[in-house]
Structures are given as structure tokens and as C-alpha cells.
């Protein structure tokens, strides 16, 4: 029953995909209206004017260009011409570093907030004000203080991924069932051991949910951050190709951003499954 449902869902997915690509193909087939002009002028006007080709690339253009990129993902022809693998690698490295720093800060701090009502109340106004700030609003301040665009991007990733983890950790720790805490108390388990043997496993699913939200936000923000700081990364690539008016490359980049984002989410989902316990 389940497999048949999955099978039918796959058929519908494929049908939707084909319909989308087909529509895309037909819509970008070309206008047909070709103006007659002198060859010199035609060279200036480009294919859109001379052959009636659509300005929007069709699926076949995108497909062939994507294939070209996939064949040579790591080439490096200087600052403005690097393979997509290198660009994505830079983005993933920045996200990874900023996210890692956020984990180091958010989880212990979240533990503290969750376990101590005093700290919770004391830090609450700061968190409430800092949390809704768009991470990119920090960028000028980061550039001014850190004086390094690469580190500023990492800082922006850090600041955007810290909040969901912090709040989820604090919530998960505070919401550990009283009876499990009581078990530890009646067994005279010390605070540190209790934190690692009862609170951490009990709060782990909630913490992992926060981490999963964070990685998603970090991946959303890195594209915008790299558009600002420039140099390398998939966000910079998108902006660079827009300046080159290569819509094909922009579409390819969009597609790859989606694929990598999905992979990051799936990795975290796998970790979340590992720590989830059935009740």
C-alpha cells in the first residue's frame, strides 16, 4: 500500500516536472519575428533580434550549460571565472564555520538558560531584541569592526544561526519531563552527570530541530551575504553572472543552491532521527 502510494506520487511528480519543462520550452522557443537588418548591425543586436530567439534561456540551453559545469566543476581561470564546485565549496565552508561557532555558543548557553530561570529572565530582553534583526543588517558593523569581508560573512552566518539553536535548546532543556529529573534526583546524580545523562538525551530532539532550522537559515543568508562581500561563493557567482547577463548561469546557480540546501537539511534530519527516541 505504502509502496504503491509512493509509486503513484513519483508518477505525479515526474508528470509535473515534464509539464513544467515542456511549458518552459514552449514559452522560450522564440518569437519568430525577425527584423531584417544589415549584418554589421545584427552583430550588435545579438541573437534575440536577428533570429527571434527568446531572451530567456530554455531548458535545453540550461541543461547543456549545466552539463558543461558538471564536467569541470573545479576549474579556476582567475577571480571572475571559477568552477561551480569551487564557488559552492567556499559557500559551504563559510556556512560550516559560522554554523559551527554558533553551535559552540548556542548549545551551552541554551543549556544555561533552560536550567536557570534567573538567567532565562535576565537574558530574555536581549534575545527578544537581537533575534528579529535581519542578519544582513549586521554586515556594515561587521565589516567596520572585523575589517575582513570573508570573516564578516562568517559572522553574519553565526549571528543568524545562533537564535533558533539557542531558543530551541533552552526550550528543550526547560521542558525535560519532571519525572526524569526526579529519577536523577532520587538517584543522587550530580548536576553535571544529570545534564549529560538525562537532560541532554531528553532535549536532543528539540535541540536538533533548532539546528535544522538554523542550517536552513544560514544557507538562505549566505547567498545574500556573498552578494554583498563578493570575491567567491555561490552568492557572488549569482551576482557576477547577473552582471554578465548570463541568465542561464543564474538559473543553474539557483538550482544548485536548492540542491545543496536540501542536502544540508537532510544531513541534519538524519542526525535528528539518530537522537529521537520513541515513547
Amino acid at each position: 500500500m505504502t509502496s504503491s502510494l509512493r509509486f503513484r506520487a513519483a508518477i505525479v511528480s515526474i508528470a509535473l516536472f515534464l509539464a513544467f519543462v515542456g511549458t518552459w520550452h514552449i514559452a522560450t522557443r522564440g518569437t519568430g519575428a525577425v527584423a531584417s537588418m544589415s549584418p554589421e548591425y545584427a552583430k550588435l543586436m545579438g541573437l534575440t533580434a536577428t533570429q527571434g530567439k527568446s531572451a530567456m534561456p530554455g531548458p535545453l540551453d540550461v541543461g547543456s550549460k549545466l552539463w558543461e559545469h558538471l564536467k569541470r566543476p573545479f576549474y579556476d581561470n582567475g577571480p571572475n571565472d571559477k568552477g561551480l564546485g569551487i564557488q559552492l565549496g567556499h559557500s559551504i565552508a563559510r556556512v560550516g564555520l559560522g554554523y559551527f561557532l554558533a553551535v559552540i555558543v548556542a548549545i551551552p548557553l541554551g543549556f544555561l538558560i533552560g536550567m536557570s530561570p534567573l538567567i532565562n529572565k535576565a537574558l530574555d530582553p536581549f534575545i527578544q531584541i537581537l533575534k528579529p534583526i535581519s542578519p544582513l543588517a549586521w554586515m556594515p558593523l561587521a565589516l567596520y569592526t572585523i575589517k575582513d569581508s570573508g570573516l564578516s560573512a562568517i559572522f553574519v552566518i553565526f549571528i543568524c544561526s545562533v537564535w533558533p539553536m539557542l531558543l530551541n535548546t533552552a526550550f528543550g532543556v526547560a521542558a525535560v519531563r519532571k519525572e526524569w529529573i526526579n529519577v536523577a534526583r532520587t538517584l543522587e546524580v550530580g548536576t553535571v552527570r544529570r545534564a549529560f545523562t538525562v537532560i541532554l538525551p531528553a532535549a536532543a530532539p528539540t535541540i536538533l530541530t533548532g539546528m535544522r532550522i538554523s542550517i536552513g537559515i544560514a544557507w538562505l543568508v549566505i547567498v545574500a551575504a556573498e552578494m554583498l562581500v563578493g570575491g567567491t561563493g555561490i552568492g557572488y557567482f549569482v551576482w557576477n553572472e547577473w552582471n554578465n547577463l548570463s541568465i542561464t548561469n543564474v538559473i543553474i546557480a539557483i538550482l544548485l543552491i536548492g540542491v545543496v540546501g536540501m542536502l544540508l537539511d537532510q544531513i541534519l534530519a538524519r542526525f535528528a532521527r539518530m537522537v529521537t527516541f520513541p515513547e
Binding site: 534526583r185 532520587t186 515513547e279
Partner: protein, 335 residues
């Protein structure tokens, strides 16, 4: 008046009488302190802040004591503070006033000497059966190596009849099996007292019966002191040596202590055939149905330090004031 009653109607402890008769007065008082008061709850109160600035007392000036190896059951309606008493005894809650003395020492906080079996079993769901019991074992004996912990935990898993299910997680167990793990975990730290907060109330009747048998067997075999809260009159009759009846809260008092007149080797199957069974059961049920509401109003002179002891017998159960130990021995000598 007491002399006019048949022996099985009123109660005085034969052991006390014997001890009092054999020794002098002073030594006998000392003996009471040692024998009779393994657990001594002394004048505890629990108050919560009320709606308009005042305080609501769940109970005030509550005294309760138990001897080593005794099985005590508290029965009362919801809200009378039974669970609070147990939590105070466990160290999970602090009384607003008063103290609890266990084995000659005032308790401070929780202790590995007092194991708790929780109503909701409270197993750690990310650990296996063995893991849950081993967690308790390593908490008590921190320097034990893995093999020793495992062997010790296994003993208690076997004791509660869960051999073969060691590597299952709590989610894979039935309610009764989960509570067996809870019992194994509590016993594995070889506590001085076992505290049980309605441990079987979430189970079906058949499982409940089996587990009552297990608990009774284990307590008799090991001489375990146990303190249990229950709603189930039959459970109390089967398991308890002493049944503590509490009136309705707020302002609950320990109204009466019922000594179980049934023989120590009673079985669950023929429990109800014992001639004292119905007297005992009726007495408790009567209390729960009617007297628990009116007790405080009808007994203005109720002394919480000397709670009446009842021992329902063949006829109508009679309540007599708990004679002061010294008077009691004096009477015993006189007789």
C-alpha cells in the same frame, strides 16, 4: 471499657507488651524509639500560597511513624496530600514545617537509601531495560566496572521476571513490563525504604494483580520497608501491614491507623475468605465514603501525635486511642 472487649476487637501490639513486661519502663521507651520509628514523620505541614494573599494548608501537624520491615499504605481521596507526603519522604519536596527522620537521621533532600517507584514508571526512553537499571546501579556504586554493574542489574531484572527483555527499549514494553523495570530499578540500589506512588494505578486489573504478588513476594523475602500510596482498598489490604487513612484536604489529617489483622502469609486468591477480611474492608470503605469528609468536624479533640489505631476483627471494628507506650506496658503488666 477496653477490658470488656474481646481480644480481636481492639489492638495493642503483643511485641510491645512482651518487651514492656520483660524490661523496665525506661528501657522500654528506648526500645520503642528504636524499633517502632524507623521512619518518623514529625509535625510536617505543607502550605501553598492561596488566592488572596493567604496560605492554603494541604495538611498541618502530620505525624506518622513506621517500623523497619513494615509495609505501610496511605489511602485517602485525591487532594489530601498523599503524594506530597511521599515526595517529602523521598526528599523531592520540602515540608513547610516539621521534619522527617529516617533511621535516626533527619533527611535532607533525596537519597539513594530511599528509592521511588513512580506512578508513570518514569523510565528513560532512550535507554534499554538493562540501561535503565544500570543507570541506577552506577549512580549508587560509581567505581564499579561495566561487567559488575551489568551482572548486578541483571540480578534485579531476573528478580522481576524480565529475563530476555534486557535489550528492549521502554517503548517496546507493555505497561506492566515498564513498571517491572521501575521496580527493578528501585530495588537494584538496595534501598532502606521503597516509596511507591500509586505504582499500579495505570495498569489493567490482571497485570496489577501479578505485580502486587511480585512486590509482596520481594518485600517479604528481603524484609524491605515500604511506603505506598494507593486508591485501591484491596491493594492496601493485600499488601499493607498498616493502613493510614487520611481525611479530605485541604487541611487533611491522618485520621486513623488500621492494623491489618490478616495473617502475614495471606494469598491474594483466598484473601476475601478470611473471616476478618470484610470487617477490614468495610471499615476502610466506610471511612472513604463517609467519615473522611466529616472526621475533622466530628473529632475536634483529634490528637495528631496519638492517632487512633483500629484493628477490625470479627465483629464491628472498634477504635481505641493508641495507649501511650508506658501506660500500655503498665496495663499489660497489671493484666
Amino acid at each position: 471499657m477496653r477490658d470488656g472487649l474481646p481480644e480481636n476487637h481492639c489492638f495493642t501490639s503483643p511485641r510491645l507488651r512482651g518487651a514492656g513486661g520483660a524490661r523496665g519502663r525506661a528501657s522500654f521507651v528506648g526500645a520503642i524509639a528504636m524499633i517502632e520509628k524507623f521512619i518518623s514523620i514529625e509535625a510536617i505541614a505543607k502550605r501553598y500560597p492561596g488566592a488572596n494573599g493567604g496560605e492554603i494548608a494541604v495538611f498541618e501537624n502530620l505525624w506518622l511513624s513506621m517500623a523497619r520491615g513494615e509495609f505501610g499504605c496511605v489511602i485517602g481521596h485525591s487532594g489530601c496530600g498523599k503524594t506530597t507526603v511521599l515526595n517529602i519522604l523521598a526528599g523531592l519536596d520540602q515540608p513547610s514545617e516539621g521534619a522527617v527522620i529516617v533511621d535516626g537521621q533527619a533527611i535532607e533532600g533525596t537519597s539513594l537509601d530511599r528509592a521511588v517507584i513512580f506512578q508513570s514508571h518514569a523510565l528513560l526512553p532512550w535507554r534499554t531495560v538493562l540501561g535503565n537499571v544500570a543507570y541506577a546501579v552506577t549512580s549508587k556504586w560509581r567505581d564499579w566496572d561495566r561487567a559488575k554493574v551489568k551482572a548486578h542489574a541483571q540480578t534485579f531484572i531476573d528478580l522481576v521476571g524480565l529475563t530476555g527483555a534486557e535489550h528492549k527499549r521502554p517503548s517496546e514494553l507493555s505497561g506492566g513490563m515498564k513498571q517491572r523495570v521501575g521496580i527493578a530499578r528501585a530495588l537494584s540500589i538496595t534501598p532502606k525504604i521503597m516509596l511507591m506512588d500509586e505504582p499500579f494505578s495505570a495498569l489493567d486489573a490482571l497485570t496489577r494483580g501479578t505485580l502486587q504478588d511480585e512486590v509482596r513476594r520481594i518485600c517479604l523475602e528481603t524484609g524491605q520497608t515500604a511506603f505506598m500510596i494507593t486508591h485501591d482498598v484491596d491493594e492496601a489490604i493485600y499488601l499493607a501491614d498498616k493502613i493510614f487513612l487520611m481525611t479530605n484536604g485541604p487541611g487533611a489529617v491522618l485520621a486513623e491507623i488500621v492494623e491489618n489483622p490478616l495473617p502475614k502469609d495471606r494469598g491474594r486468591i483466598d484473601l476475601h475468605r478470611h473471616p476478618y477480611y470484610y470487617a477490614l474492608r468495610n471499615h476502610i470503605v466506610d471511612f472513604l465514603v463517609s467519615r473522611s469528609k466529616t472526621f475533622t468536624a466530628e473529632n475536634p479533640g483529634h490528637d495528631p501525635r496519638n492517632v487512633l489505631v483500629a484493628r477490625p476483627g470479627l465483629g464491628e471494628p472498634t477504635i481505641v486511642p493508641l495507649p501511650k507506650a508506658v501506660d500500655n506496658s503498665a496495663q499489660a503488666i497489671a493484666r
